[in-house]
Symmetry: C2
DNA sequence: TATACTTTTGCATACGTATGCAAAAAAGGA
DNA sequence: TCCTTTTTTGCATACGTATGCAAAAGTATA
């Protein structure tokens, strides 16, 4: 079943013009008279002609494709991110080559996929990248941008929330309310987001003489639920729990409910991300809003900047706290 | 900043062979002596050579790309689907060109994106497709498969759960438990999934002389929450609620909690999909398991079948009920 | 060593497009 | 009408790869 791709040549013949002219009709800004343009467009319509992006990419070295690699597909935050990325990139004429990586670190093989297709940039959310790969990409002049990650040892741009600052604000809030028994539940401990949120939170409280209990989790609901439940059962009763993200906080919240601890009266809970579920009545989780749209805009901006010889930029956005029913 | 793509020609020169030979080294099954293969691979490694998928696709008419179009990115069920699709397709050497469509119906423009890149097949989850587009794709000999949708009026394959049968089983369960005041909450009413689940459920119960109350919702948590809450406030007290999907059921569940109705003692709740959240302790939702892996396998199977001249196949898989704490 | 046979290689061409250059056509000016 | 200027068009070529065909190289047989 051969795929009968109809080419510009065929359109040209039927329209009594050259292939070049057909090409120009489909090239914005090229010089074609109105009369021939109309004629060509009509024939193209009849034949269902579609310019071939592969051939075009081959010659212009512009593929209009962007590689997007994601890891933690379980976290609703990233679904939102995915949606916004594809929406905005489409609006700019880019197509998205999507890779979902199961491994902690993006693999060479996955990057090769991107390279083979000559993507014009790579966006990595929520996954690690080896410096070897980064330098290979740099050598190939393909910009790569870490989204919601921030690795200073890597020579690439990054866009993230100012996690240290945000977590500091939350710490300040918790401190000023007078809470003393405070818990932080980490995400995956090798991620910059978790590290920064921990640092911002703990450092502020330490400066006030408060020691924070750390529960080492992994961004999953299940782990966070279990850790919190165990903590309560061990006899410790926290005033305040801050989770490294919303899913983490929800796990803690459900564990508290399970142990019949009233929220926010006995314990308050705060998350990070403001995923859709945080607003569900049953949860109504107080959380830090990451300005996703803004973060995506910044990322695309860096992508199209096309000045990858200068030093890597680490863009930080602010966001804000939103008070719901798990704080008072 | 020109992108200096290194070509097979450059590798050839350095390795003292022809470009053809380099090509053959990277073409599985081609005839190359072990000696030259090693030499070429070494040079290729040195130069960071990467075969160009665009050029290859141009000549072989095989792009190894599959178009994936999704709509309801808010539903966790589809995130799982997305993950499994990309994982399995990657394993088969396919790349995924991803489109997230906001519109109810996939737009011409979005399909054009796929066509321009010569994708080898298109998977549409959860969105509608005009028959005009389908016939255009058929004309271009690009197989298109509806995932979790089933439109008999369209000339294309589809893979879905046997929704009528599944909903019938659930109706049987509800009937045999002796419930009389039964509610079905729809999804988007113009989707085949919602229609079929409603049909299977209602038809069985009608045959037993039971009239089902229908709440017309749209697959969102919020709408379902509100409708259920209103229903209760109007004075109606259901024995059993079946939601067109899990998100719908969770909305109903939270509304019941909000109205202080005990689940499952006063009212039981059943969902459909078995998303990860259904297993969370706080919800522990009884639901119908859609065998996602199997559905994805069937889809990819149809995609690679490559016999799109015969009539469209509508593959149905079964799935099974999973009992948790919202039923007794 | 000569012959037949097999494997490996290079040459040439094709895929479908974009684009510099020069020729052709159209438009403007007198 | 003729000449100049501008716009539109076609020709030829390039992008980086795969592949049929024939030449070359290697291997086996007698």
């Amino acid at each position: 079943m051969e795929k009968n791709i109809i080419s510009a040549m065929e359109v040209a013949k039927l329209a009594n013009v050259s292939q070049s002219t057909v090409s120009r009709v489909f090239t914005p800004g090229a010089s074609v008279s109105e009369k021939t343009r109309k004629k060509v467009l009509q024939v193209a319509e009849e034949l269902n002609y579609q310019p071939n992006a592969l051939a075009r990419g081959l010659i212009t070295k512009k593929t209009n494709m962007v590689g997007l690699a994601m890891k933690d597909i379980q976290n609703p935050f990233y679904h939102e991110v995915l949606g916004i990325f594809t929406k905005k990139l489409k609006a700019m004429g880019y197509s998205v080559l999507f890779v979902y990586t199961e491994n902690e670190e993006i693999q060479q093989e996955e990057i090769n996929h991107f390279l083979e297709y000559n993507v014009e940039g790579i966006i990595v959310t929520d996954a690690l990248l080896s410096s070897k790969i980064v330098s290979k990409l740099k050598h190939n002049r393909i910009p790569v941008i870490l989204f919601n990650r921030n690795d200073k040892s890597l020579q690439c741009h990054s866009v993230s929330c100012d996690n240290i600052d945000a977590a500091g604000s939350i710490a300040k809030y918790v401190f000023e309310k007078g809470y003393k028994e405070i818990v932080f539940i980490t995400g995956k401990i090798n991620t910059s987001t978790s590290q920064d949120r921990q640092k911002g939170f703990v450092d502020f409280l330490i400066s006030k003489g408060i020691v924070v209990t750390i529960l080492e989790s992994d961004y999953t609901y299940e782990k966070s639920f279990e850790l919190t439940k165990n903590l309560i059962q061990s006899g410790y009763k926290p005033d305040a729990i801050f989770g490294a993200n919303d899913i983490t906080a929800l796990g803690a919240l459900d564990a508290l409910k399970d142990r019949k601890i009233s929220v926010p009266d006995e314990t308050i809970v705060i998350g990070f991300d403001n995923i859709k579920m945080a607003a569900w009545p049953n949860y109504s989780l107080s959380t830090w809003v990451q300005p996703v749209e803004e973060m995506v805009d910044e990322t695309i901006n860096l992508l199209t900047l096309n000045s990858n010889d200068d030093e890597p930029k680490a863009v930080k956005v602010k966001g804000h706290f939103i008070h719901r029913k798990t704080t008072k």
